[in-house]
């Protein structure tokens, strides 16, 4: 099904590992020099910045070409529907041509053609059966299109998009929020177990890494639809106490179960995701219980995380050979250190603690800025 051979995909992944291991000091330069020629592939690749720029311009060109065609041909509204299907077929063929003829791999241009094909297909599907734009059909078509792109071109982001779009079709279809969330959870749980099975079939070779990403995203999305406080923006919650408290229990169970899966399978992405979900659960606890947030909550929470991190690190380091069951307390790879640094920088964007209640100045004197009858409470 895929346009790229499994050998090429594996070679590219091993190349990345060799570069990462060399930067991390696990391989010396001579070993790297000896390994890389055996991993050469006959594919044209580029760096992520040029790739992103070429994707943007590629998409711009295709959208403008479509608009030009529609204006030149004086397309009516009904003809536009079939033009969308034609556009989907042409751009999909163009993407395949670019890969087969020019041997492009994540080059941006063929990706823009593939994404444009998915966009046109969604427009066609959403408008062909009814005069109004059907969002249910649009989401379903987007899911199918994304999955096809994942299978044909190996775009992991397309697989992730398919995972996130599949439950969205349900959200637009069902009437009651509890029913919507239940059906979405079933869809996501199904995707999780199918991806998990496919990952285990191929572990540790390609395409296990792609299915690992889908597995982790499906689990995170399952948590999101379960956590009523974190996903209040998604849909207004029904006033059903049993459902409310069942989700409260589940938001504690899901991260714990996810961590168990992750540790058992040595699934790094799943481990990272479930650590974040566990933090989200602790942050959702007070809103769920209706307790008032206090200004010192972030401080206490941060201190608790520091204590847990230090305790876990010391426990791992105290094991035989400084590890426990192969788990070590320090980062081995340069890529992981870079990821951690980025996460640390992102922490600067976290909003501050809830503001304290402003204290009014005394009735007599009216307060003052520096000394006098009393200063204001906000600072």
């Amino acid at each position: 099904m895929s346009l790229y051979s499994q050998d090429d995909e594996r070679a590219i992944r091993v190349q990345r590992l060799v570069e990462d291991w060399t930067k991390s000091g696990l391989l010396v330069e001579e070993q790297r020099t000896r390994l890389l020629p055996e991993l050469k592939v006959d594919l044209r690749r580029t760096n992520r910045f040029l790739r992103a720029t070429m994707f943007l311009f590629g998409y711009l060109i295709l959208s403008s070409l479509t608009g030009l065609f529609a204006v030149f041909m004086n397309i009516s509204e009904s003809a536009f529907i079939w033009m969308s299907l034609f556009g989907a077929a042409v751009t999909f063929a163009a993407a395949q041509y670019l890969v087969k003829h020019y041997r492009l791999y994540r080059f941006g241009v063929e990706e823009s053609a593939a994404i444009a094909a998915a966009t046109f297909f969604v427009i066609f599907a959403a408008t062909v059966l009814s005069s109004d734009f059907s969002t249910v059909t649009a989401f379903a078509a987007a899911t199918v299109a994304s999955y096809v792109l994942f299978l044909r071109f190996g775009f992991v982001y397309a697989g992730v998009a398919a995972t996130l779009l599949a439950p969205m079709a349900v959200f637009d279809y069902a009437e009651t929020d509890a029913v919507r969330r239940l059906i979405a959870a079933i869809v996501l749980l199904t995707i999780f177990f199918v991806a998990r099975e496919r990952r285990q079939d191929h572990d540790p070779d390609f395409p296990s890494d792609s299915y690992a990403a889908i597995e982790a995203v499906a689990w995170a999305a399952l948590y999101l639809v379960t956590n009523l406080k974190a996903s209040a923006w998604l849909a207004s919650v029904d006033d059903v106490p049993q459902f409310y408290w069942a989700t409260y229990v589940l938001i504690w169970i899901l991260p714990a179960a996810g961590l168990w899966f992750a540790i058992r399978d040595r699934h790094r992405l799943m481990l990272d995701v479930n650590i974040v979900l566990a933090i989200a659960t602790m942050l959702s606890n007070k809103p769920y219980l209706g307790a008032e947030p206090k200004p010192w909550d972030p401080i206490v929470f941060g201190l608790m995380l520091i204590v847990v991190a230090i305790g876990l690190r010391r426990w791992l380091a105290s094991g035989p050979n400084g590890s426990r069951a192969g788990w070590v307390p320090h980062r081995l790879l340069a890529s992981e250190k870079a990821g951690l640094a980025m996460a640390g920088s992102a922490a600067a964007l976290v909003p501050g603690a809830p503001a304290a209640h402003p204290q009014e100045g005394p009735a007599i004197g009216g307060g003052g800025r520096s000394g006098g009858a009393g200063a204001s409470g906000t600072y």
Binding site: L50, T53, M54, S64, L65, V71
Partner: protein
């Protein structure tokens, strides 16, 4: 006009230095900002949707060709 001139000079510098020191984020920044700035001025003068779309097709193609040539000569794989 002074602002546009300054932006184009800085974009050209970003592209040149990005290629020279193999920091392709700056090539991308320079290309996008320069293209955006020039396009806003030109589209403001064009007014016609048909001509505007033709502009995007032609200039977009030229930019993609230039980036492909750049990628083949200088772009390292990541």
């Amino acid at each position: 006009n002074l602002y546009l001139a300054a932006l184009l000079i800085l974009s050209a510098m970003a592209i040149y230095l990005g290629v020279r020191y193999q920091r392709f984020a700056f090539v991308a920044y320079g290309t996008l900002y320069a293209y955006g700035a020039v396009s806003i001025r030109i589209l403001g003068a064009l007014q016609e949707p048909l001509v505007s779309m033709l502009y995007f097709v032609v200039t977009g193609t030229l930019v993609v060709i230039a980036l492909v040539v750049l990628a083949r000569r200088f772009g390292r794989d990541e």
